[in-house]
Amino acid sequence: MRRETKIGLYIFLAPVLMWLLLLIVVPHIDLFIMSLRGEDDLGEAIWTLDNYHSFFSERIYWLTFARTATYALLVTLLTFLITFPVAFYITKVVHRRYSAFLTILLLMPFWVSELVRVYGWMILLRESGVINHLLLGMGLLEQPVELLYNDVSMVMGLVYTSMLFMAVPLISSLEGMDDNLIEAAHDLGASKLTIFLRIVIPYAAPGITSGAIVVFMLTLGNYLTPNLMGGKNSLWFTEQIYNQFIASFNWNQGAAFGFLLLLLSSLIIWAGLRLSRQDLGRALT
């Protein structure tokens, strides 16, 4: 009996393990090996750490990474600041009857692809775009202004793209919260701000953590939005990887960058979890 159930378990696990092995583990091993290969001056393939070394020795590479990571953190923070009141409103303020409807309304833009959404923003923001047209029409502007192709528009686009991934965990964690906790804290002498900081945020902490991790990773790994909305100043680390692979034909360097991205972003998340005293396991359940 026990043996049979074990075999049964393996049968069900087999596709998952195959999937993990073939699509995750094997390519990563391949990538890792590739990242350790290089050419010597004669064009012969050799084992080398040069690809990793050049990340730290070339200022432009690690500066791009630092910039990307900083912006990803900023985007994560902004996404949280914008999404939290929305999630709180949907779960705690508005009548239960409307909260499902509002949630769907919030998720609606994500039924179209990211590319379409980004183009939507571009149509709105560009110099000959809708917003400029309206402002000129109302006489608020003399000359059209370029609202696109700067860091602000890029961050806005990234925040917009990320909102879904913050809203869903926040809503689900706030939904489980007993309203009486808020009243109890109020009754025990807490001001609104204290209630928010001491009760609501700690209660939603697992949801905030998982939302923040997902948003951070997705933003760090985004390519489309920074490229299209950020314009000429928006060098993103993923674009560096793309350039190494596609434009420079330097797959070894690209692979090393890919691994560094994985490693450094994991490090940042680990540090974030330690700082906020959160537990990865708890956040992901």
Binding site: E183, L188, A205
Partner: protein, 361 residues
Amino acid sequence: MDVVLEIRELVRRFDTMVAVDNVSLEVQEGSFFSILGPSGCGKTTLLRMIAGFQEPTSGVIRIRGKDMRGIPPNRRPVNLVFQNLALFPMMDVAGNIAFGLKRKRLAAAEIGRRVESILERVGLADYGAKQVGQLSGGQKQRVAIARALVLEPSILLLDEPLGALDLKLREQMKIELKKLQSEVGTTFIYITHDQSEALVMSDRVAVMNAGRLEQVGPPRALYDSPASCFVAGFVGESNQFPAQIEEQEEKQIRVRTDTGLQLQATPMQPMERPECRLFIRPESIILQPEESLSGINRFTLQVKTILFDGSNTKVLATVGESEREIMVSLPQNRQFAHIGPGDRITAGVYIDACRCYPVHA
């Protein structure tokens, strides 16, 4: 004694419904005061107005003489123990209790001292580091009460805090709460729909129905002389009969119940119409009354069943031809231990224990 809470002509309307309808009452400093009523009678609304979660439509709430209008819950000298306790799951026991003290910006050492002493008081010394999830129902109860009491409020409000506990624990907690209240001397205002909780613990009880106060008084007064038909039916057990007045004197009436029983009874309110309702408590029915007793109604019971419940054993019996059963308490001595189903037995009840109230059509 001083009045800690004074409520004057308090009204609260929701859209078309009046939840609290012109309520006035006073609560004495240091007393255990209960508000008793069926669910939906407005008692929770009343409590929430005292706590500050809702503003009255009109009327006045004064605590220690100070008008509470416009003062938010966090600045009122009252604290509330919630029905579901609302302990903070992300803090340990000590953290829960210290929450209010921290809001008062007390020194850490002082907070630690107070938390420890209140935990000891509720019998949970050494539980400070436990997580809320590790506690039993009764322990959670005590933490919730300690969390509010540690702030030394003028009034502690309790919103049916025993509702979630099982029967045995509830009985035990009733006594504990009463003891705790007399030890700390804080005024407790206790909301419940369970009349036994109210009667056991309270110094005074306010009975509430449909947004109005029916009667306010000590438990014994409510029990012995209910002021209204509702109170007579709601507080304690009673045999109830719809009845017609056949003859009316000044302090006594003769009524005929719908089962055909004729009795002398005492009118508790002026009777303007012949329809009335008769209440007789199970324990006021005397089995085999002495022939010499006067001022007593006599009738014969036919025993149907004995409901054995130790000291609370009752007899279910019928009177005359009707199949309607009435309940009679068996005295605790074993005098009637021999009676069984089918027995016929004489019974009597004093005229002043047969209480009549007018029926509002």
